[in-house]
Symmetry: C2
């Protein structure tokens, strides 16, 4: 955890970005959560320790972090984005509950064969993929009973 935060700061410095208390707070907020956080959620968390921060700064910090590939983005349906710290070399995907929004991560997606097939067929240069399963978690399927 702390490793991730330190690591993230190093990466920022290396790319010529300054380390400010605000940026540190945003990084801590994202790193300190295993949930995916929307920009607004990050803002709220950060505000608890750092009440004067602006939402704009959160957006700008997210932009920088996402640009460097230090956090990853999820689209959980509708037009809401959320972000999670990308742990080094930990490639993972999401299983999202459509009812309560819970996100479970998983690894081992075994898409390499498919990816190389696509590269051959389409001549695309593939940078990555987004794989999300959608459904209902155990609790929600119990509640609705359908």
């Amino acid at each position: 955890m702390i490793y991730t935060e330190k690591r993230t700061e190093q990466e920022l410095r290396k790319n010529g970005f300054k380390i400010t208390p605000q940026r540190r707070a945003v990084i801590d907020a994202i790193a300190g959560s295993h949930e995916h956080l929307t920009p607004a959620a990050i803002y709220n968390r950060v505000r608890r320790e750092h009440p004067s921060i602006g939402l704009v700064t959160v957006y700008r910090t997210i932009e920088v972090l996402a640009g460097l590939g230090l956090i990853c983005e999820t689209h959980a349906g509708g037009s809401c984005r959320s972000y999670l710290m990308r742990r080094p070399s930990e490639h993972h995907h999401h299983l999202i509950c459509s009812d309560c929004g819970k996100v479970v991560d998983f690894t081992n997606c075994d898409l390499d064969d498919l990816e190389s097939r696509l590269v051959k067929e389409t001549r695309f240069k593939i940078n990555g993929h987004l794989l999300e399963f959608l459904g209902q978690c155990l609790e929600c399927s119990k509640i609705k009973g359908r």
Copy 2:
């Protein structure tokens, strides 16, 4: 193509929705494109034949169609959604060019094994999945030469 449009109308009727010229126009616009269309793009296409339609109606029609699973949604990064007619039983995924936004469809995702593993491990009721590869198409990688 026509089959899809007829089929879609049947499905709407079956679920108690009325068939209006506006709805038909929206369905035609989506069905008539192999590209993914944003709500605004659908609106523009529909307007060519039906200048008095409101953007609101497009949104509402999309909502109905998506609710019945007749169109499918893509998230191509940022906060923009786009829609494509779902052809019957044609399960497909997208390969998206980050530079020009071109979308290539592909099938055969072979995720059944993974899906059943996840169901076992997480007890989720899985309804579907979203798989998107991101990269650069041949043209764009030529242009940028990187």
